[in-house]
Symmetry: C2
């Protein structure tokens, strides 16, 4: 029985409640990533990425179609994005890791859109100055992931509007207020910048085709809360003579608290990429687990990894298949205590952050290199 507090809400601006991913597939009208589809993917990637095996990416649209195109010799490009409204937490990195994997395996160009007007238009007290700061800071995190600099272009909306607007108005001409009201829950009191914004977020899905003057398939890896944008984008595509963009959707990474996704608005349960490793360690040690009230009880009855935020982190980001299987067994069996688990995760988080922060420092010198410039085409 669900209470109001637990009601599932999944929109581009809010994710809350207990997420039922099967229900999302039905409600959004996407397709589950079946074993059959995954086999086709594996033909091209050799091994299956852990995020696919673990159903972190769990849903798609037209993935088979884009792979057929690929097999017929037609290259696709990748498009994903980030709304730079605050610091990046390690939950954000999950789809980025997978996007990088796709880029490597399919030798694909990537447009990484940074929607540096979105939060400003959405939230009264969020300023363009803040947006500018977070855009730069978040771009460093993107670059630190090690995307191929020759094939990756960071498209910052407010720096690329000469090019984006051209595509956006062609999209916008086919999207009316009724549609964005129905799809995004906009109201009569929604500002006209925000009601136009879906056209801006849709634009990179056609950008390569528009710039090259020929149809190029596009694959969008992103969390499923962004799906409303792609529904609108797909409706418009045939009216502009473009391919519908394909998508592959991932789950939300849980926070370190009890339930809910990791969110920059709850800093104590989120590990930010710029957290000093010792602070991150403390957050992990304070995390919510699926453990029992006493050591004795846990040894006797075992604990519950399925509600444990520490286990989630190992599952989403840090452990390989053998490790995660062993951990799951030992947790259920009461062979391992939460304290031990936390220390193992904390060590890995600290090591990860140290390396990421080194790469982030190096990213400062590479910023210009990654920035989208239509003249480079």
């Amino acid at each position: 029985m669900s209470t109001n507090n637990e009601e599932m809400i999944v929109t581009p601006w809010e994710v809350s409640g207990r997420i039922d991913y099967d229900k999302l597939i039905r409600e959004f009208g996407t397709d589950p990533l079946t074993l059959e589809v995954l086999e086709t993917v594996q033909k091209h990637t050799g091994t299956l990425h852990p995020q696919l095996k673990r159903k972190i990416f769990f849903s798609h649209r037209d993935l088979e179609w884009i792979l057929q195109r690929y097999e017929a010799g037609e290259r696709f490009y990748l498009y994903t994005g980030r709304g730079p409204s605050g610091p990046v937490h390690i939950g954000h990195l999950v789809p980025w890791i997978f996007t990088k994997h796709l880029q490597e395996k399919f030798d694909a160009k990537l447009y990484f859109q940074m929607t540096d007007e979105e939060k400003f238009l959405h939230q009264d007290d969020f300023t363009l100055e803040e947006s500018e700061k977070w855009t730069y800071e978040n771009a460093l995190d993107i670059i630190a992931m090690g995307f191929d600099s020759k094939k990756t272009k960071i498209v910052i909306d407010r720096k690329s509007m000469d090019v984006l607007y051209e595509v956006a108005i062609r999209i916008a001409k086919h999207v009316n207020f009724s549609t964005v009201r129905a799809v995004f829950g906009f109201h009569d009191s929604t500002n006209i910048g925000l009601t136009f914004f879906p056209a801006i977020q849709a634009a990179p899905a056609f950008l390569e085709s528009a710039l090259l003057g020929q149809n190029v398939p596009c694959l969008i890896p992103a969390a499923i809360d962004q799906d409303p944008y792609w529904r609108v984008t797909r409706d418009v595509a045939p009216k502009l003579g473009y391919y519908k963009p394909a998508q592959i959707h991932c789950r939300f990474v849980p926070g370190l608290g009890r339930g809910g996704k990791m969110s920059a608005s709850m800093p104590e349960t989120s590990i930010f990429t710029v957290d000093p490793p010792e602070l991150a360690q403390k957050k992990v040690l304070d995390a919510f687990t699926g453990g029992r009230a006493t050591v004795e009880e846990q040894r006797r009855l075992g604990a519950n990894p399925d509600i444990c935020s520490v286990y989630s982190y190992d599952y989403f980001l840090f452990m390989d298949d053998k490790e995660i299987e062993d951990l799951r067994y030992n947790c259920f069996a009461g062979n391992i205590l939460c304290g031990e688990c936390k220390h193992i995760l904390a060590e890995r988080v600290m090591k990860f952050l140290e390396e990421h922060q080194r790469n982030r420092e190096k990213a400062k010198a590479k910023f210009a290199e990654y920035l989208f410039n239509p003249k480079d085409l």
Copy 2:
């Protein structure tokens, strides 16, 4: 008594019916250009421009305020615009002539916006390719007017969106769908590009202040059908800490037919700047006049200049005060016949077009010089 056909409609996209300018002042809430205001203008311009004497510019907002600022040593800039949806006709030139006069007398910078997405968003079958063509063609007409190239910047929306969008989203954040529905008559079925567009047209009213980082008063000379944009712009101004733009509004130049303004959609009653002079001559000779059925009757009873399109042209564009006064007298008195009048106007139109077309040819080499480039600041 007004019939449906004569009902006055004045919106940025439609002007029809019999125009009652006093009613527009009341409905739009603007101020009439009184003798007192004109005297203040004349202090700075020496003589009063014919378009002011003749009440072609007839209404304003905050003109006194901006002149007070000017007297206190604070310079203002001018902003006007053109939606490049077809060829320029000589009716369009009326406010441009006055804008040039203001530029000269007040040594003012001018932003000339070309809204090269407006018609595309407004009309199903109007393409961006057409828009591109008319943008260039219309820009030649603007340049041919002889605006000071050092002080005049043509801002083409799709070429300047990196800069305009920044200002537009700050405006858009304070304008909601309800407002643009009420002000512009938008519907739920209006596309989201068009509902955003008012923010783009408002942007140049704050552009100089935004670019310089300090408040600069702005005066907008334009036909009164554009007023809805400035009402929205003025509402937003204090929320952004900017001055409200002042306006000075002109009437619509009538076409050569019976009633109605000159319009590119009625080529036979419009004289285009690119018309071969002989074609323009023919259009004038075919024009609707206030003449009588027979020569005898006209000699006896006189004719009516107030409904005569030929007289309108002389009044709006071609005759000086003495000439127009004489013509009016002689028309009422039956001293002059419509044929004579048409020949006089046709000669002037042909001479004007020949010169304008020479300047238009020269403008081709100056296009880049006039184009807005924020880096020039």
